[in-house]
């Protein structure tokens, strides 16, 4: 079943979609792979991106949509009234789960070449984030150095799904160094999937309802705990964006404050409380927005999420849990729309 389109008029305000997915497939990337064993593998019938078998359709209830190329995305933007789209992957949300480091590196390089060639050269509606392999941070730094100064590259796409150690570990510092070198925003975007690594053991659950409800927030909590406590934001002048986990989990950061105050010796690089680091250096995408919070609580939710200055809008189209731009108008006060739709995005992604 197709997802279909709405009859609503496009949003009139300027909207920067901070998480606009494409549905890239291996056939899109193969032309961008160098002749190698990895390319021959990708061309073979043995290749497949990590896949979990969870039913995103809710038994065929939720329709499917795709964005395969710039024309598809332009249509989406026109229908919703979007002005700029920060492009993010779909298959490569699972890139961190690829065990073969050489394959991971080659796919990463191919994806970035494909992104630059097919999307960023197609017009200034689209902004890019450089995919980095968590399996090989040095290669990640090379990729950032390759594209970091390119017009319309605004960030680094960092996978919290599948890294061998939590993302605050010193092994990932080449990525942070390179991101700082090029003043790129580090985007942390998870996936509702199942794997043996923490915190992805969602085969513990029975249905995708449980899996999706906890996957993204738990991945953000785990990785941002590590990033903050290992002092990455104190040692590197960086901006971070938390994507696709909504807002409801963010108040956890105050628990982290209390934990830190009880054992500051275990986070010696921190000069600020975790919640201060969050408010200063992190932005959070509201999608999927917790629209069902009790009436009158949105201001409190925004404050606990770091403040209205830290909230970003994203559709996440074409994924099933996307937010239409109308969600901002339905859930947020009128005086906040411009901030959330585009003003905050300009601070989070200065190149946008």
């Amino acid at each position: 079943m197709e997802k279909g389109w709405a009859e609503a008029e496009p949003v009139e305000e300027e909207v920067i979609d901070c998480d606009a997915h494409i549905r890239e497939e291996i056939d899109d990337l193969i032309p961008y792979m160098e002749e190698s064993e990895e390319k021959r593998y990708a061309e073979s019938e043995y290749f497949g991106y990590p896949s979990d078998g969870w039913d995103r359709s809710a038994g065929g209830r939720s329709g499917y949509a795709s964005v395969e190329g710039p024309e598809d995305e332009r249509e989406v933007m026109e229908r919703f009234g979007l002005d700029t789209a920060v492009i993010t992957p779909t298959r490569n949300l699972y890139h961190g789960l690829i065990g073969n480091r050489d394959v991971a590196n080659e796919l990463c390089r191919a994806y970035n070449r494909y992104l630059m060639d097919t999307w960023l050269d197609a017009g200034n509606l689209f902004k890019g984030t450089v995919l980095v392999p968590v399996q090989d941070p040095e290669v990640g730094a090379e990729e950032i150095d390759k594209y970091g100064q390119k017009d319309d590259v605004v960030g680094v796409f960092l996978n919290p799904v599948g890294p061998e150690k939590a993302l605050g570990d010193q092994r990932y510092e080449p990525i942070y160094e390179a991101a700082e070198r090029h003043d790129l925003t580090v985007c942390i975007h998870g996936a509702a999937t199942t794997h043996s690594t923490f915190p992805l053991q969602t085969n513990y659950f029975h249905k995708f309802l449980e899996v999706h409800a906890i996957s993204h927030p738990f991945q953000q909590m785990a990785q941002i705990t590590s990033i903050i406590c290992r002092g990455i934001p104190e040692r590197y002048d960086l901006r971070f964006v938390s994507m696709e986990a909504g807002l409801g989990w963010v108040p956890y950061i105050y628990r982290l404050d209390k934990e830190f105050l009880a054992r500051p010796n275990e986070a010696p690089d921190l000069d600020r409380l975790p919640s201060e680091i969050w408010a200063d250096d992190f932005w959070v995408v509201s999608q999927p927005m917790e629209e069902t919070i009790p009436d009158g609580c949105i201001d409190a939710m925004a404050e606990l999420a770091g403040g209205w200055d830290n909230l970003l809008f994203a559709t996440d189209w074409p994924h099933w849990d996307f937010d239409a731009p109308s969600v901002v108008k339905k859930t947020m006060p009128r005086e906040r729309w411009e901030q959330v739709y585009h003003e905050n995005a300009r601070a989070a992604f200065p190149g946008v």
Binding site: E2, A6, E7, A8, A58, T292, W320, A324, S326, K330
Partner: protein, 112 residues
């Protein structure tokens, strides 16, 4: 499917025969807007193709007149066809926008 493009003197647009609508819920286009028209039990209902959750094309979702529910294809939210209420007690997306529906002389009309 399109209903009549010209309304009658009382601004009614013929959707089809009652038998047609009973046999199969209809998604009709009237003046550029779509409506779901269906029979549930002994009543005929019409709803705008705008999900109260986020505005999705709810009329194009899964319609089950035996079960009495329609499921929006955008996010899977479910609404009772006999009145349009959300199947769950939620303030968000609580009610499908309903349109006036008239059955007369074996035909079903939308009155706009």
């Amino acid at each position: 499917m399109s209903a009549d493009t010209e309304g009658d003197a009382t601004d009614r647009y013929r959707v089809g025969s009652l038998k047609e609508v009973e046999a199969q819920p209809q998604v009709v286009d009237v003046r550029g807007k779509k409506y779901l028209v269906c029979v549930v039990g002994d009543e005929t209902y019409a709803y705008r193709n705008v999900c109260p959750h986020q505005g999705g094309p709810v009329a194009e979702g899964r319609v089950d007149t035996e079960d009495g529910r329609v499921v929006c294809p955008w996010h899977g939210w479910e609404f009772d066809l006999d009145g349009g209420a959300n199947c769950f007690d939620t303030d968000v997306g609580a009610q499908l926008p309903q349109a006036e529906c008239v059955v007369e002389g074996g035909d079903v009309y939308l009155r706009l």
